[in-house]
Amino acid sequence: MTAPSIIFFVLAALAVLGAISLILQREPIHSALSLIVVMVALAGLYLLMGAEFVAAVQIIVYGGAIMVLFVFVIMLLNAGKEERTNFSKLATYAGIPLAVATTGFIAAAIAWSSGSLPAAEPSGALTSTKTLSLLLFNEFVYPFELTSFLILVAILGAIVLAQRES
């Protein structure tokens, strides 16, 4: 086993364990922490693929901004422990078999075609900061600007909603 594949499996295991713990934790803040672990592990995976900029942005945006808001809200609302309810019948009879079937299907598809699939190239050249920004600001400048506009509208909306009535 080469060093990159060892790192891959460690990070992947970390991401999966974080995701499972996210669901199983009863304390909301522990769930939020598990989600941060998932985000950071994903950033590590991006780094492994040579997408340095995306990895850094993943941590800065998801880890540093969005999850901080999650944690903030949980702390401010003082959310208590989750109550465990009995499994709904639908989940037991349809959900679990469906989940098992889907996992089996994907695993079988990968196992069956792994010989014929070409290995993914480390996309370093494509995702370097410079090429990425050139793409964003030349070829995809209109979608990019539209997205920024959308976010601006959302921010204004949030301010209008949060404003005190005078």
Binding site: I36, E52, A56, G63, V68, M75
Partner: protein, 403 residues
Amino acid sequence: MNEFLTQYAFIIVPLIKIAILVLIVLTVDAYLTWIERKLIAHIQARWGPHRVGPHGLLQPLADGVKFIFKEDPLPANVDKVAYFLAPFLTLMLALTSLAVIPFGPQRFKVFGYETHVGIADVNISLLVLFAITALGVYGIALAGWASNSKYSLLGGLRSSAQMISYELALTLSVVGVLLIAGDFSLRKIVEHQAGTGRGLVSWHIFPQIVGFLCFYIAAIAETNRVPFDLPEAESELVAGFHTEYASMKFAMFFIAEYTSMITVSCLATVLFFGGWLSPFPVSWTFTHYLPSVLLIPFGLWVIFDGMRYENLFGRILLPIVGIGLAALGATLIVLPTVNDIVQGPFWFLAKVFTFLFVYIWMRGTLPRFRYDQLMSFGWKFLLPVSIANVVLTAVAILIWGKL
């Protein structure tokens, strides 16, 4: 054995470098507390620590021993996982952020593995640094929340709100530098500041003075230091997020705070003040003797100072240290090759310590902000100014081309 070393040099050499850096940083942290107490004492016309060792120089050691042996009570009803995780997370992230700072220009070979002064040389080092700082909020927020105390919770909330607000200004204020240097790599940014070898005129501080001021103000707020130390405003919140922490866990927050101060000072040096570059033009080779000119008199003064203490320190330790320092200075004059290697780290350290001095100076001088002042200053003044700086820099580059 030798073969083994060559084969695994890529992992052994970084580990050695990490160990050395952590050792140095922790020592500097410890003595930073001494420098801070001493400086503030003198600003306030006091003596500061002077009992333990000459000039109180062993005070950090005594403090360290005290921290280890103090009782570490666990408050009632704390969230154990988060309570224990918070100090470790804070310290770990603070130390990790130093890994991407380049300390000197040289590349050298160890066990046939080429390496450089600094732990990691990634080409997006600035982004990595910001990513690590962005995660630093969790340590403080978790500490505040997990302690199950109203002071801690309020301190943690204040602190994280402050850090999120000032992170924007911090990130935007360095965009000007990025536009000029055209690279995310801290090493490339420093190399860009070498310019045509005319010394400090090509540093980024001159075109980016506004950016630097925004950066430094935002960085002080990020590290929760005076005048932005609201999270630990004693008169309102006891000690803020670390009220319920004692012993080594409290020390961890403390070490993390001082390490972030060092990181911020390193970053200011690298981004705006030419990193390891000398402020003098390259052709002025006589300035290479500056380290010796400083070291020899300092060593002699240490010997002279030792004569005032009639004990082990004065008779043996201080004279040995003094002779060592003076001898080091003399060696640098005699061996020009060694002297050339020392130049980079010498200037780097000199600049970093200047910034650390300013940090402490400010603590001794400025009163604390009120919370609403802090928020309106960050959002209504610092952020617009740094955005204007970015736009102005971009326009200037568009009109006059790269500097």
